[in-house]
C-alpha cells in the first residue's frame, strides 16, 4: 500500500501528521490523522487533592483554559456533593459566554473565515486575518482586537486571574460582582451582540451571496451523515454551561439523552494500533470503522452538531439565524422548532457565528439577571454529603468536554479521566480528510489546492491538539508526498512555515 504523509511537525518524527494511504490502483484507501499525546497526565494528578484540578487542568490547554476550569469545578461540585448557588451558576456561565465570544470570534476571523472571505484558492500568505481585513475593511482588525480585549477583561476580573481562571470552587464561585461591574458587563454584552450581527452580515455578503462559495458550503465535499451530539437545557435548546447530553441520529430522531455523569454507559472508545488517541463512539450503535450512516456509532460534537440537536436557540436573534441556516440548506422541520440535521461540515463555520450571537445574547440576559450581583456565591461543602466521585461536563467551543474524578475518603485523587472536545471528533476529522484526499489526490489538482483542501477539512473542526496532545513548533509547514504502490516518490508538495 502506498502512503502519503502530510507532516506538520517536521522535527518530531512520527508525531502529529496526516497519512494518506493509496491502493495499487492509486486510489485513496484510507487516511489517518495522527496526533501525539501528552504523557503522564493521570500519574501527575493521582495523589493530589481534588481541589487542585481546576487550576491544573486549566493549564492543559492554552486555548480553552476556561472550559477546563469549569468542567473541573463542576466535577468538584459532584465530588463534594455541593450544589452551587444560583448566583454562582450564573457567574460561571457569564464568564463562559465571554470566553465563547472571544474564541468563536478569533476562529472566524483568523482561521476559518479566511478560506471563504479571502478565498479557498488564494495564496496562503494572503489567506489569514490580514487578508480578511484587506477584503472586508481595515477597521475589522480593530474590531476583532477590541472584541477580544473587552471580553478578556471580563474573564480576568470574573475568573480572578488573566488567562488561567482560579475562581471556581466546589459549591460555587469565589468572586461576586459589584453593580458597577455588572453595568460594564451589560455594556460589553450589547457591543458583542452588535459585533456578532456584523460578523453574520459579512458571512451573508461575502459567502452566501457568492454562488461559488455557497456551492462550496453546500457541496458534498465534506458531507458525513453521522450522529450529532450537544448539551441541551430543560427545553432541549443548546446550552454551553449545563444540561443533558442529547444525541440525534443522522435523520434527526432523538437517539439518546443522558446525564453527563452516565457518559460511560453511552460512549466507548476504540483503540487503533496506529495512533495514541482513541476514537470515541456510541456504545449502543457500535464501532463499524471510519464510516458514516445510521449503523455506525461515529458521532460529531461541534457547533453544527450542537445546533442539530437543539430545538431552536434559546435567544431570539440567534434563533432567527438558526432558522435561516437550516432553510438555506432546504432542511425540513421535524419538530415545532427543529430541522433535519445538516451534515455538510463546512456549515460548521456558519453555526459557529450563530453560536457567537447566542453567546452574546445570553451574556446580556445574565448581566440583566437580578441575581447576578448576589453576594451568595458559594455553598460551603458539607462533609456529610461528600461523594468521592464526580463528572463535570461543559460544551467547549470544539465539542463536549467531560472531566471525571474519583477520590479516596480524604478527597485525594485516585483516578482521572477526560474526554476533550476534539477527541469526540477524531473519527469525523479523519473522514473529512479522507474525503478531501479522494476528491483531489488522484486528480491533477495543483499542489496548493490539495494542501489547502486537506487543511480546510481539519480547520473546520478547529482541532484543539494541545488538549490531548502537544502541539506544533513554529508555523505549520506541510509536506505531502504521494508515493506509488511500491513506495516510490511520485510527487512531493511542500508548504513552508
Amino acid at each position: 500500500m502506498a502512503r502519503i504523509t502530510i507532516d506538520p511537525i517536521t522535527r518530531l518524527e512520527g508525531h502529529g501528521r496526516i497519512d494518506i494511504f493509496l491502493n495499487d490502483q492509486g486510489m485513496v484507501e484510507n487516511t489517518f490523522f495522527q496526533i501525539p499525546e501528552l504523557r503522564g497526565f493521570e500519574q501527575f494528578c493521582v495523589g493530589r487533592m481534588a481541589e487542585e484540578m481546576p487550576v491544573i487542568t486549566n493549564r492543559i490547554c492554552g486555548v480553552c483554559p476556561e472550559a477546563h476550569h469549569l468542567a473541573a469545578t463542576k466535577a468538584l461540585d459532584a465530588v463534594f456533593g455541593a450544589e452551587p448557588t444560583g448566583a454562582a451558576k450564573k457567574l460561571r456561565e457569564l464568564l463562559y459566554m465571554a470566553f465563547f465570544v472571544t474564541d468563536h470570534t478569533t476562529h472566524f476571523y483568523a482561521l476559518g473565515g479566511p478560506d471563504f472571505i479571502v478565498g479557498p484558492d488564494a495564496p496562503p500568505a494572503e489567506r489569514n486575518i490580514l487578508g480578511v481585513a484587506r477584503k472586508v475593511g481595515l477597521e475589522v482588525a480593530g474590531e476583532v482586537i477590541a472584541c477580544r480585549k473587552r471580553n478578556h477583561e471580563i474573564i480576568t476580573f470574573l475568573g480572578g486571574k488573566s488567562i488561567h481562571p482560579v475562581a471556581g470552587v466546589p459549591g460555587g464561585w469565589s468572586r461576586a460582582i459589584t453593580s458597577v461591574e455588572r453595568t460594564q458587563i451589560e455594556d460589553i454584552a450589547r457591543r458583542n451582540i452588535e459585533f456578532a450581527i456584523f460578523s453574520l452580515s459579512i458571512f451573508e455578503r461575502i459567502v452566501l451571496k457568492n454562488p461559488l462559495y455557497l456551492d462550496l458550503v453546500t457541496s458534498d465535499v465534506y458531507l458525513h451523515r453521522t450522529y450529532s451530539m450537544g448539551t441541551v437545557d430543560a427545553g432541549n435548546r443548546a446550552n454551553f454551561y449545563d444540561g443533558m447530553i442529547r444525541v440525534v441520529d443522522p435523520e434527526g430522531a432523538e437517539f439518546i439523552k443522558y446525564n453527563p455523569s452516565e457518559y460511560r454507559e453511552h460512549i466507548a472508545e476504540r483503540v487503533e494500533a496506529w495512533t495514541y488517541l482513541k476514537y470515541p463512539y456510541l456504545k449502543k450503535v457500535g464501532w463499524k470503522g471510519l464510516t458514516d450512516g445510521i449503523g455506525s456509532g461515529i458521532y460529531t460534537a461541534t457547533p453544527l452538531s450542537r445546533l442539530n440537536v437543539s430545538e431552536g436557540m434559546a435567544t431570539s436573534l440567534a434563533n432567527a439565524e438558526y432558522q435561516r441556516m437550516y432553510e438555506t440548506f432546504g432542511c425540513k422541520k421535524i419538530t415545532a422548532a427543529r430541522y433535519e440535521p445538516i451534515h455538510h461540515r463546512l456549515a460548521t463555520h456558519w453555526a459557529r457565528l450563530i453560536e457567537l450571537l447566542y453567546s452574546s445574547e445570553r451574556m446580556l440576559e445574565l448581566a440583566l439577571d437580578p441575581e447576578i450581583t448576589s453576594p451568595e456565591t458559594r455553598n460551603i461543602p458539607d462533609p456529610a454529603r461528600f461523594v468521592g466521585e464526580g463528572v463535570g461536563s461543559v460544551e467547549a467551543p470544539r465539542g463536549t468536554l467531560t472531566h471525571h474524578y474519583v477520590t479516596d475518603e480524604r478527597g485525594v485523587l485516585t483516578k482521572v479521566n477526560m474526554i476533550v472536545g476534539t477527541t469526540n471528533n477524531y473519527a469525523p476529522i479523519s473522514m473529512s480528510i479522507k474525503r478531501a484526499a479522494e476528491k483531489l489526490i488522484t486528480g491533477n489538482a495543483p499542489d496548493e489546492s490539495i494542501l489547502n483542501r486537506v487543511e480546510m477539512a481539519f480547520r473546520l473542526y478547529d482541532p484543539c491538539l494541545s488538549c490531548a496532545t502537544h502541539f506544533l513548533p513554529g508555523k505549520m509547514p506541510l509536506t505531502v508526498s504521494i508515493r506509488d504502490s511500491q513506495g516510490g516518490l511520485l510527487r512531493e508538495m511542500r508548504r513552508k512555515g
Partner: protein, 159 residues
C-alpha cells in the same frame, strides 16, 4: 497611548517538564532586574494574537520560550525578530503566527514595542507531565538568565 517600560514574557506550560523553562527564566530575569527598571513579567501559554496582545503598551519586549530546533538540549539562542516563529509556543494553531499577529496589531492601531527579542532554550522533555526540568535544561537556566539580563541592560543603556 505612549508605550513605556519593558515586558518579559515567559512562554510555555509549567506542568510539561522542559516546556516551562521560558517561564522560569523570565521570572529569574525579572527578579534580578526589577529593582533597577520598569520591568513587567508575564506568563503565556499560547502565541499568535495572545502574544501580540501581551506586548501591547510596552516600549520593549523580551520573549523566552522552549525550542525544538534539533540543537543539544539546553542550547540557548537569540532570534532575530524575522525568525520569531521558530520557537515552540509563539505560534497559535487556533489563530496565526506571531509575525501576522504583530502586523494585525499594527493595522488595528495597537501600541506595540519598537524593540522585540526572542530567546529559545532547547528542550528535551516537553510532552510529559511533570514540574521538573531535565538536567541539561536545568543547567542552562543560569546562563540563559545572564545572557538575557545583559541584553536588557544593553537596551536600557542605549535608551
Amino acid at each position: 497611548m505612549r508605550e513605556t517600560g519593558t515586558v518579559i514574557i515567559g512562554m510555555g506550560n509549567r506542568l510539561l517538564s522542559d516546556d516551562g523553562v521560558g517561564i522560569a527564566v523570565a521570572a529569574a530575569v525579572a527578579e534580578r532586574l526589577k529593582q533597577y527598571m520598569n520591568l513587567t513579567v508575564t506568563e503565556l501559554h499560547i502565541g499568535g494574537i495572545r502574544l501580540m496582545e501581551a506586548m501591547a503598551g510596552f516600549k520593549r519586549a523580551v520573549v523566552v520560550d522552549a525550542m525544538l530546533s534539533g540543537a543539544p538540549p539546553g542550547t540557548v539562542r537569540r532570534f532575530d525578530p524575522k525568525d520569531f516563529v521558530t520557537t515552540k509556543n509563539t505560534f497559535s494553531s487556533h489563530d496565526t503566527d506571531f509575525a501576522t499577529a504583530y502586523d494585525l496589531g499594527r493595522m488595528a492601531g495597537v501600541p506595540l514595542p519598537e524593540q522585540v527579542s526572542f530567546w529559545g532554550i532547547e528542550a528535551r522533555e516537553f510532552d510529559l507531565f511533570g514540574e521538573r526540568f531535565t538536567d541539561e535544561v536545568a543547567a542552562a537556566v543560569p546562563g540563559a538568565v545572564n545572557l538575557i539580563v545583559a541584553q536588557i541592560t544593553e537596551w536600557e543603556g542605549a535608551a
